[in-house]
Amino acid sequence: MDAMLETHDLTREFRRRGKPFAAVDHVNLTVAPGEFVAIVGRSGNGKSTLLNLITGLLRPTGGSVTVDGRDVASLDDREASAMRNRTIGFVTQSATLLANLTVLDNVILPAAMAGDALRDTDGRPDMDATGDAVPSASRDDDMPDVIAPERLDDDDPLTFRAHDLLQSLQVDDLAGCYPKELSGGEMRRVSIARALMNRPKLLIADEPTGDLDAESTAIVMRLLRDVADGGTAVLMVTHDPDALAYVDRTLRMDRGLLSEA
């Protein structure tokens, strides 16, 4: 099977006090579709830089990144942006919800950016959190048992899907709130819903359980596991030992170098 993500000798140097140093140093990484990979390591060892190189938000000093068969460095801004919008879902380390939009609009925005291409063509969608169209009866029984709230915007597939994702993460009752009204953990869960909105092939999560209690961590990790089982490649940076129980493979990053944990 072709790799969803592949890096080859990936390097990014910065200068600190006039001296160059490699934040990411000749990293070789492969993540297959449906594989759930975790990267652990101390803060400041290049994990976030690696993730930003993968998304094309930073250009490598050396080496290459291939996502879904496309060399990220060769993409122009429009193509790289389209890839971030449609192929990659990114849960950042810090809260990047837009303060001016409601939770619901925050989740919908990536789809609004993609335009109508993501809208279902066969009428009203019925999708689970991974984005696959499935009958309601076949939902994962391990997922939290929640009562679906009344849907006021059933005619709008984007609104429907956003509610579905928020419900999966148990924050659907906050759909009309603004981010400043949320706790850190709630914001993190909304960010995950936003990252999943466009049904990404590659989900990148930078400490997705950083602000969460044990119960919420379990909810999020089960969801990410479910996403991976649905065929999405998941690359997660984490400091949370509890989260590692859900992954297929764990790597360690130390001073820019990536190795098996």
Binding site: N52, T55, L57, L58, R59, D77, R78, S81, A82, M83, R84, N85, R86, F90, T92, Q93, S94, A95, T96, L97, L98, A99, N100, L101, L104, D105, I108, L109, P110, A112, M113, A114, L152, D153, D156, L158, T159, A162, Y178, R194, N198
Partner: protein, 405 residues
């Protein structure tokens, strides 16, 4: 409720930051008031000047000694006055070399007293010889002005029964003229043959405008159109001619010179206003740039989020540009509406305060200025966002954006 779209995003951003939006709108509003208001005033002043030039008609005015200033004020927008010759000067002037066409006018100022509806300039003219006022009146009133009737200037308050009371006499108003933007708007016009009656009414009211012995022959100015000779040469010829009759010390007014000096004053005012406007605009633009740049720093995380979600640099610039254009448009509309309300209903008052010819320009010109004002306001808003847009267009945007992380 419809969900968010890229088009609605800038407006959501503006709506959720009401104080920042209001501050930006206020700055643009102030700049637009200065730009549009200044342009409207300048246009009206130029229209007044053009109107004054059209109304001049004469190359030279001969007036009594030391009344030149009063006569000039009559041509522009000064206060009304009364002056007259005590001798028959018109025939002597007409006989001078270089004089082509001659007509006489009489100027009497009514009183701001109980006897009169208002203080106006009464101008007596001879319809048979007049080449200054008569063509203008004829262009708007095709009837013949009868003795005892008046034609009212644009600013004259004519009573409901179509008359105006001057020196306790109700004069029928035959017609009212369109605005000229000069003191003629505050004048009433009568036949030369009506002047003795006006003098008589003034005497009865206890405020004789002209002594009774001069009532039948009093003229205030002889207006001359030369036969092509220089006005100053003709004035010298007139001085020589009347000297033979023992008359010395006449006053001479050169309407072309009055126009030139008024134009010079106007150009100076417009020049200073333009300079002030430019400085004001630059200051306002600096404030807007600072506010936008400051907001840009505050919003780094927000822009990072857009990029992470797949926004192109063009989309980010588009969001910024639409926000600033909306601020410009809102500020522009408010500024234009405010300036219009402050200027358009008060033309007469503004003209009087400026002491310059002032004529409200036409609807088409005002509409053109409105459009120009809106374009200016939107352009100002867009210019203010240029720095932010350029920064967001940097090749490796994340290096800028990560500062907010």
């Amino acid at each position: 409720m419809p969900h968010v779209t890229l088009k609605s995003l800038p407006f959501e951003n503006l709506k959720r930051k009401p104080f920042r939006t209001a501050a930006l709108v206020i700055v643009v509003t102030m700049l637009t008031v200065a730009f549009y208001g200044g342009a409207l005033l300048a246009t009206n002043l130029k229209a007044g000047l053009n109107s004054m030039q059209e109304r001049m008609g004469a190359d030279l005015m001969v007036v009594p000694q030391n009344t030149g200033t009063k006569a000039e004020a009559l041509l522009t927008s000064g206060s009304s006055s009364t002056f007259y010759f005590t001798n028959d000067i018109e025939r002597a002037v007409a006989s001078a070399d270089g004089v082509g066409q001659v007509t006489a006018q009489t100027y009497i100022s009514s009183l701001a007293a109980a006897c009169c509806d208002e203080k106006v300039q009464i101008i007596g003219f001879d319809p048979a010889t007049d080449f200054v006022i008569e063509p203008w009146i004829t262009s708007q009133y095709d009837g013949a002005l009868k003795d005892g009737e008046v034609v009212a200037g644009a600013n004259i308050n004519v009573s409901a029964n179509g008359t105006i009371k001057l020196y306790n006499h109700e004069f029928p108003v035959a017609a009212q003229l369109a605005s000229a933007g000069t003191s003629l708007d505050n004048s009433v016009f009568v036949n030369e043959t009506t002047i003795p009656a006006v003098v008589s009414y003034s005497a009865k009211a206890g405020h004789a405008a002209i002594p009774a012995e001069y009532a039948d022959k009093a003229i205030s100015a002889v207006l001359i159109r030369t036969d092509g000779a220089e006005a100053k040469t003709v004035a010298a010829n007139i001085a020589e001619t009347v000297k033979a009759d023992g008359v010395t010390g006449l006053g001479y007014v050169y309407p072309g010179g009055v126009t030139a000096s008024t134009k010079a004053s106007l150009d100076a005012i417009i020049g200073y206003a333009g300079l002030f406007l430019a400085v004001f605009w630059i200051m306002g633009l600096v404030v807007l740039l600072a506010v936008f740049a400051s907001a840009m720093n505050e919003r780094k995380r927000e822009f990072a989020a857009y990029r992470i979600m797949g926004a192109t640099r063009g989309m980010l610039v588009g969001v910024i540009v639409r926000e600033s254009a909306a601020v410009g448009l809102i500020g522009g509309v408010i500024g234009i509406a405010g300036a219009s309300l402050a200027i358009l209903p008060f033309n007469t008052l503004i003209g009087q305060r400026l002491q310059l010819p002032y004529l409200q320009t036409g609807v088409a010109t005002v509409l053109a200025l409105v459009v120009a004002g809106l374009v200016f306001a939107v352009a100002t808003g867009l210019a203010a966002s240029v720095v932010s847009a350029v920064r967001l267009s940097a090749p490796e945007t994340y290096l800028t954006l990560r500062e907010g992380e």
